[in-house]
Structure formats: structure tokens, C-alpha cells
């Protein structure tokens, strides 16, 4: 784009088309054409400036200045949206945000560089055989924020309330679900430092209720991959144009010293019972993870990852410091037409648990040597109303075992492997619009659920995200 002084353009514009007199001069003619184009462009800019001035007087000057200085028809053209509409936050060089297209709004701009988003989930679980255990729960309400420091640097955070009320005498929790500073090093890779989500599985990083089928998150990605699983540390991520995404990190890991052999938690979710969530996390031993996904064919996602680290954390009183956790995972998601098919398998091992379990002899929950889970799920967007509403029935089959094997113990005192749990879930997500989902499902358990203390159940739920 040529750079011409604004004054010259205005002068030429006032002079009209005088050069036409030399119509026989081809060179001149071309020049006139160029000038004409420029005048039209400048007219456009002037119109925009006028429009901006009319809408948001305060922001006019800098916006106009940038537009003129770059002289390019920069993407940033319209000034702030009316207050009621939702505008984009802007990187410092972007002169203005723009109202969102149509529906599916996401986020709320708070000033030029900060935005808020959120999601929430309310559920109703009714066991078919023990109605007294029926519960209605505001499972979670989350507020997320994002602040842009400069073009390459931003902070992301999510604050979560679980079970509606959190106090010392209530059962709810308030927690920071993620909080990290991200610095983009190049257009296609960057670094994050802080409390980051472990990029394993389909659910952990994308756990908003609209993204998964069923009222509750699947069991495999809560019992084996303890979503929402986050660790403190440094992560690097990137992607290629061919559709390959990668994410590697180093940071905190679980704390095996926190294992409670007398409680059920370790059987409900081995890693869920010892992950630290950056709450005064014991951090002598660093863990590492690496994950990759290929999405080069739209509608197809193939991926996997591994998380590993020693998890003794230097505990001097327990024989835990030789123990290493390895958790691997592979997944597939395929969305042909109205169908949405996914499958995931994950398996974890904890090494050198024999001495620790000897101290837990006879206890109900020793540390497992291995645990695993997998599921297949098919969903079908069967009905649609307009472009926003849809109904998607789904069926999911899960198998998982949180104590698939235990280290050997003296004769007769070892712990037998737990039976493999199998759960069928049949249900439907009804999207009132892409941001609001109503859910219904029925879950059939092979065994009573350890945590819930009952078997089959019927669930209703509401989820939203913005």
C-alpha cells in the first residue's frame, strides 16, 4: 500500500479529474486510475472516521490516527460497539473491536484489553434403586478472564465455585482452575507459565458443559484422567498449518505421600486423590508431559499424550521417593456429517508401591500398580431447528478400573485387583442455542459406584457457557 500524505489526497480530490485532458497519454491515464482508486479509498476512510466520531467520540482520535498512519485498510475499522452489544477486546495495535456476528456470543469485554467468560452446570441425579440419594446440585459455576498485556502476552484465569456454597461448614469449594501467563513466541508457538490444564484426553482442556454429552463428565476422564487436572509449571505449545498441535510441559505433579489408604478417594480416582492443584503443592519432583493432536482433516481428531514424573516429593517419612507415575492416553474423535464419534483409552502405572503398601497392609485402598479406562461414544445431531437449536442423542460405553493391579505382598495379605466397572450411558443433549444446553441421560452401572454408593441413575442437567 502506497503511503501518500493525506493533504495531497484531499488536494487532488478537490482538483477533480483535470488530467483527463491528456487522454491520449497512456501513462497519465494509468496514473489517474491509480489516483481515482486512492480517492475512493480515502473517501471510505473519511466516512469511517465520521462514523466513528458519531458513535464513540472519545475513541475517535487514536483510532483515526492509527488508521491514517498505517494507511492500510486495517482490519480494525469500526469503533466500539454500542454498550449493550458485546465487543472484542483489542490488542494494543488494533484500533477497535467489532461486535460479534449473529449469535453464539462469547465473552464480555471489560475495557480494551480484558474480557470475561464463564460457564456453569446444574444437575439432578436420581438413582433408580435408592431415591433417598437423589441430589440436585449446582455442580459448578466458573468465571474466566483474559487480559491482554501486549500483542504477545496475556493472562488467562478461571475461578470456579463447586456445589454452590463454599465455607468451612459447607461442602462446596472455591478454586482457581487455571491461571497462567501466556507469551507467544512466534505466530504458531508460545509458552505458558502458571497453573495450566494438563492436555490429556478430550475433556480435560475442554470441559465446558456444551462440549460433552451427558449430564456428568464421563467416568474415564474423571476416574483415570482426573479432570479438571491442572499442574503448575511451564508449558510450550504450538501448531502447524498441517493441523498438528503439540503441547509439552514441565511442572508439579501428584503427591503420593498424600495417599489415604483408609479412604475411598484413591479407589474412586487414584490421581484425583493425590493431585495437588497448586495448593501449597509439594514440588521437589517435577513431572513432564507431552501431548499431540492431528486435526489436518476437518472433522477428524487423532491424538494422545503422556504424563510422567516421580511423585514422592521428597517425603522423608514414607517409602515413596522411588515411585514414578506414568499416565498415557490416546483418543480419536470423528465428526462425519451429523455424527460425532469418539473413543479414548488411557492407562496409568505407579512404580515401586510395594514398600508403601506394606505400611497399608489390610487397608481398603492401597496404591494401585496400574489403572486404566476407555470409552466409545456415538452421538447424532438428529434434529435441528433453525441454525441454532439441535437435539443430539448419544450412547456411551465405558470400562475402567482404578485398581487393575497391586504390587505383591506377603502370602495371603495382598490386595486383589478391583473388578472392572462398566457403564452404559444413553441420553441426549438439547442445544437451545450453541451456548445453552439441556441434558438428560440414564446410566447403567455394572457395580455400584464407589463414590456415589449406588448404581443406575437418571440424570438431568443444564449447562451454559459464554
Amino acid at each position: 500500500m502506497q503511503r501518500k500524505p493525506l493533504a495531497l489526497a484531499i488536494l487532488l480530490s478537490c482538483a477533480g479529474l483535470a488530467p483527463a485532458a491528456h487522454a491520449d497519454d497512456a501513462k497519465l491515464k494509468a496514473e489517474v486510475e491509480a489516483l481515482r482508486a486512492e480517492v475512493a479509498e480515502l473517501r471510505g476512510i473519511v466516512q469511517q472516521m465520521q462514523a466513528q466520531r458519531a458513535q464513540t467520540p472519545a475513541s475517535t482520535a487514536p483510532a483515526a490516527a492509527t488508521a491514517v498512519a498505517s494507511s492500510a485498510p486495517s482490519a480494525a475499522v469500526s469503533a466500539g460497539a454500542p454498550a449493550a452489544s458485546i465487543a472484542a477486546p483489542q490488542a494494543p495495535t488494533t484500533t477497535a473491536g467489532q461486535p460479534l456476528p449473529g449469535t453464539g456470543s462469547s465473552g464480555l469485554a471489560l475495557g480494551a484489553n480484558t474480557s470475561l467468560w464463564g460457564y456453569g452446570q446444574i444437575g439432578y441425579n436420581r438413582p433408580t434403586n435408592s431415591a433417598g440419594d437423589t441430589r440436585a446440585d449446582l455442580s459448578r459455576a466458573v468465571i474466566g478472564f483474559n487480559h491482554v498485556f501486549d500483542e504477545a502476552t496475556r493472562v488467562y484465569g478461571e475461578i470456579e465455585w463447586e456445589h454452590a456454597i463454599a465455607s468451612s461448614s459447607d461442602q462446596g469449594e472455591t478454586e482457581v482452575e487455571q491461571l497462567y501467563v501466556e507469551h507467544t513466541l512466534a505466530p504458531n508457538y508460545g509458552v505458558r507459565v502458571g497453573l495450566v490444564l494438563v492436555p490429556l484426553g478430550l475433556l480435560n482442556e475442554h470441559h465446558e458443559p456444551g462440549y460433552f454429552y451427558g449430564v456428568e463428565r464421563n467416568f474415564v476422564e474423571t476416574a483415570i484422567i482426573p479432570s479438571t487436572w491442572r499442574e503448575g509449571g511451564v508449558a510450550m505449545y504450538g501448531n502447524t498449518e498441517s493441523g498438528f498441535n503439540w503441547n509439552v510441559g514441565i511442572g508439579t505433579g501428584p503427591n503420593l505421600g498424600a495417599w489415604d489408604p483408609a479412604a475411598d478417594e484413591g479407589r474412586a480416582s487414584p490421581l484425583g486423590s493425590i493431585h495437588q492443584e497448586l495448593q501449597l503443592a509439594k514440588a521437589r519432583d517435577l513431572s513432564m508431559y507431552a501431548a499431540a493432536n492431528w486435526q489436518g482433516l476437518p472433522g477428524l481428531q487423532l491424538g494422545g499424550g503422556v504424563f510422567t514424573g516421580k511423585i514422592g516429593q521428597g517425603d522423608a517419612a514414607l517409602p515413596v521417593n522411588r515411585s514414578r507415575l506414568v499416565l498415557g492416553e490416546a483418543h480419536l474423535r470423528w465428526q462425519p456429517g451429523p455424527f460425532d464419534i469418539s473413543a479414548l483409552y488411557t492407562r496409568g502405572t505407579i512404580s515401586n508401591t510395594q514398600d508403601l503398601n506394606l505400611q497399608f497392609l489390610g487397608q481398603p485402598t492401597p496404591v494401585p500398580k496400574s489403572f486404566w479406562g476407555g470409552y466409545v461414544q456415538g452421538a447424532w445431531r438428529a434434529l435441528e431447528w433453525g441454525s441454532n437449536s439441535s437435539l443430539a442423542p448419544f450412547l456411551r460405553y465405558e470400562m475402567f478400573n482404578t485398581g487393575a493391579a497391586y504390587a505383591a505382598q506377603p502370602q495371603g495379605l495382598g490386595t486383589p485387583a478391583l473388578p472392572t466397572q462398566r457403564v452404559w450411558t444413553l441420553g441426549a443433549n438439547y442445544y437451545l442455542n450453541p451456548s445453552v444446553v439441556f441434558k438428560i441421560d440414564y446410566q447403567k452401572f455394572r457395580y455400584e459406584d464407589l463414590v456415589l454408593g449406588y448404581g443406575n441413575r437418571f440424570d438431568l442437567g443444564l449447562g451454559y457457557q459464554f
Binding site: 468451612s168 461448614s169 489415604d260 489408604p261 483408609a262 517419612a317 514414607l318 517409602p319 514398600d355 506394606l358 505400611q359 497399608f360 497392609l361 489390610g362 487397608q363 481398603p364 506377603p410 495371603g412 495379605l413
Partner: protein, 432 residues
């Protein structure tokens, strides 16, 4: 830090009334009352480290004094009874005879009411409180009636069936003539014995510091401790007993006597500091039981008075640590059993074979839970392992398994010597 904030004064004793004054304040300021003791411990730490506080007694000086008071028989009306008489250090600071209750008083002929607990491994930072789910927890004495060691130390000095001094003046008078009286004055001021309440408080304070800090009261020197550190292996029978002890399908003992480390990171203490109602049979060897209307209800009285209205708590006593339990000469709050094996048999056979443990009533039927009036029998724990059984069912532990558990409990005795595979709590006392 109110205790010794008046450091400019010549001697520390002048601040002792502050201790008394501060107690209600801090108790009111903390919901569970726990803060009071924390506060005390912090104060101790400060005392120990703050060289600027002139004339403040050091922790070790206080503990040394406390140790002397603990062993001083001259502080009793009889002149023959000290704390250590009942809490014999050689027997893990518990009684050294198999009497259900110890005799006290001026002539050592007044019988007591409860068996002597071990003073080892007390949780010094846990006043009595009701946990979030209503579970009574913590406190000192078998009924949790004292919130601090200082508070607890009054009764043995004064009670007619113990050292029988009657009042503080009686104690202080004897302290003034003790061999360590000068040491006492040096710590608390030359005129300390002229001020009865201050001196009595100071003596109990020294005792409390001793009980809270003396290494011989928390030696962690058992075979089990060495096993946890990976230094010795448990034998096959001990391991089996450990498994039965822990297993909810067997003894389920670890439910109240946790064998995993405490929340403060200490090695396991084998008590969760809660209270339970076991329905232990009435012990006729306690003279007070001659009166058919006499009942020791623990939490709800009669010794403890503040929970008298909580009839649901009648019969509940504190869960003791099982460390050194094999050295106990009598077991349970009323000293009903004189062997550990018998006590374990009672646990697992109480409900499967009640006739073995309880007398027959006038109607010829077994009078189960005979140490509480019939209406309160429902307070007895019958829901948890190993009690949840009926007559005729197999006990939670077989005879062989009981032997295993006894063997395991033997590993909890302090003063383990690997060379001989024996343990003796007296070995922890090898110090000045």
C-alpha cells in the same frame, strides 16, 4: 504474646496472672478452643528463643522442673504418691500393677474410679471439641473434661482419691519445702510461694511443659516405628496381625486407631482422639460399683458435668493410643480386662457370644451392656466393625487371627531392641 509481654519486670512470675486472665479470652476467640493451646506452644517457642526476654524461664528449664515435680512423692498428702506413682515411666507412663483402680488419699486407701491411662503420645494441641459432624474429639482425661494439660494437672493434686492435697495451698506448701524449691523460685520469682494461686499455676505449667516436650514421652522407638522407617521387617505373624488390624473386613481397628501418619505429619499415633461407647462390662473390682446406682458415663458424667444433658453421649470414653498397649496391666477405662488378648476377644466376640462377657439377669437372659442402665444401652456402638454381628455368627477375628493382632500390637511398644527383638519402654528413660 501476653504471657511474657511484661519482660521489663524483674522476674517472670509477675506475669503469671496474665496466663489465667488470657485463657477465657482466647477460648472465646477460637471456636474449638484449640487456639489456646497453640498459643501456649507458640509462647513456649518464643520463650525458648527470645533472649531479649530477661528472666523468662527456658523451655528446658521448665521441663526439667516439671520432671522433678512429676516424680515428687512429697507433694501428696500421703507423702508416698507422685504423678509417677500411677504413671510409671517404666510402664510407658501408665500403671505398673493390675489393679482396676489405684488407691490414693492420705493413707493410700481411697480407691479411684478409673484405670490409669498412659501419658505417652498425648496430643498436646487438641482441646475438647465437637467436630463438624458432631463427633466429640480431643481433650484430656478419659472424659475430655480438661482442655489443656495445665487444667488437667489440678485434679490429681487435689482429689481425695489421689494426692489429696485438698486445695492449692496444700500443694504450694509442699512445693516450698521440696528439694527443687530454689530452682522453682529462680524460675518464677523469690516470692512465688507466698502467692498460692500463682505458685500452683506455675507448678502445673512446668508439668505441662514437661509433658508436652519431654522426649521420653514421645520416643517413637517401637519396632513398628523402625518398620515404617524401613529399618526392620515385621515378622509374618506381626504382618498378618497388622493386616487384620487395618482391614475393615476383619478387625477394623484402624477405624478409630489409625495406623497411618497423623495429619501433623507425625508417625501414626493409633488414636483419632474421638470417643466411643464400647459397652465394656461393669467391673465389680471398682468399689464404687457396689452401689447399683453408680455409673461412670464418661462424657455425660458424673465426673464431667458440662455434657450431662447429652444422654446420647453417656457411656462414651476417649479412644486411647495403642502405642505401648501391650505393656498395659489393665485395659479399658474401668480396667475390666487384665490382658490384651482378652480385650481383643471382647471386641470381636461381644456380639457373637455376649454370654461370655456379661452376667445373666434375674430373668436368666444375658444382661448385655450391663454397665449402663437399660435405656442408655442403645448408645453402645453396635453398627461398626467388628461389633456389627449377631449371636451365632462367626466373630470378625478367629482365635488365630486374634493371636496375630496381639503379636502386631506388641510391635507398638517403645524401646525396641533389634538385637533381642524385645521392647521395653524403660529403655527410653536413659537420660539425666
Amino acid at each position: 504474646m501476653p504471657i511474657f509481654r511484661s519482660a521489663p519486670r524483674a522476674h517472670a512470675l509477675s506475669v503469671l496472672p496474665d496466663v489465667a486472665c488470657s485463657q477465657p479470652v482466647s477460648a472465646a476467640a477460637t471456636r474449638s478452643g484449640r487456639g489456646r493451646w497453640t498459643f501456649f506452644v507458640v509462647a513456649l517457642a518464643l520463650i525458648g528463643s527470645a533472649s531479649t526476654v530477661a528472666a523468662s524461664p527456658s523451655t528446658s528449664a521448665l521441663a526439667d522442673l516439671g520432671r522433678k515435680i512429676f516424680a515428687d512423692e512429697s507433694l501428696s498428702a500421703s507423702g508416698r504418691m507422685s504423678c509417677a506413682t500411677c504413671h510409671d515411666p517404666k510402664f510407658a507412663h501408665a500403671q505398673n500393677n493390675a489393679l482396676a483402680v489405684q488407691p490414693g488419699g492420705a493413707n493410700l486407701d481411697v480407691p479411684g474410679f478409673r484405670a490409669v491411662p498412659s501419658l505417652r503420645y498425648l496430643n498436646v494441641d487438641l482441646p475438647f471439641f465437637f467436630a463438624g459432624d458432631g463427633t466429640p474429639t480431643g481433650g484430656f482425661n478419659r472424659d475430655g473434661s480438661a482442655n489443656t494439660l495445665i487444667e488437667q494437672a489440678s485434679r490429681p493434686f487435689l482429689a481425695a482419691h489421689e494426692m489429696a492435697n485438698g486445695d492449692a495451698a496444700g500443694v504450694v506448701d509442699k512445693l516450698g519445702r521440696a528439694s527443687y524449691a530454689d530452682e522453682f523460685r529462680g524460675l518464677f520469682g523469690g516470692d512465688v510461694f507466698a502467692r498460692i494461686d500463682d505458685a500452683f499455676l506455675a507448678a502445673r505449667y512446668a508439668l505441662a511443659v514437661y509433658e508436652a516436650t519431654a522426649p521420653e514421652l514421645r520416643p517413637f522407638s517401637s519396632k513398628f516405628d523402625l518398620f515404617l522407617k524401613g529399618k526392620v521387617k515385621l515378622g509374618a505373624q506381626e504382618l498378618r496381625g497388622f493386616a487384620w488390624f487395618n482391614s475393615p473386613a476383619k478387625g477394623g481397628c484402624a477405624g478409630c486407631h489409625p495406623s497411618t501418619r497423623a495429619s501433623n505429619g507425625e508417625p501414626p499415633l493409633f488414636t483419632d482422639y474421638t470417643y466411643d461407647n464400647l459397652g465394656v462390662p461393669r467391673n465389680a473390682k471398682i468399689p464404687a460399683t457396689a452401689d447399683p446406682d453408680y455409673f461412670d458415663f464418661g462424657l455425660c458424667g458424673p465426673d464431667r458435668s458440662d455434657l450431662a444433658a447429652r444422654r446420647d453421649l453417656c457411656g462414651a470414653f476417649k479412644v486411647p493410643t495403642l502405642r505401648n498397649v501391650a505393656t498395659r496391666k489393665v485395659v479399658f477405662h474401668n480396667g475390666q480386662f487384665t490382658s490384651l488378648r482378652e480385650a481383643i476377644e471382647f471386641y470381636v466376640q461381644r456380639d457373637t457370644n455376649p454370654g461370655k462377657w456379661y452376667p445373666l439377669g434375674a430373668d436368666g437372659a444375658v444382661r448385655k451392656f450391663d454397665d449402663v442402665p437399660a435405656p442408655l444401652a442403645r448408645n453402645v456402638n453396635t453398627g461398626e466393625v467388628p461389633y456389627n454381628r449377631r449371636p451365632g455368627q462367626a466373630p470378625a477375628l478367629s482365635e488365630l487371627e486374634i493371636d496375630d493382632v496381639v503379636a502386631f500390637l506388641g510391635t507398638l511398644t517403645d524401646g525396641y531392641d533389634a538385637a533381642t527383638d524385645t521392647a521395653d519402654p524403660a529403655r527410653d528413660l536413659a537420660q539425666p
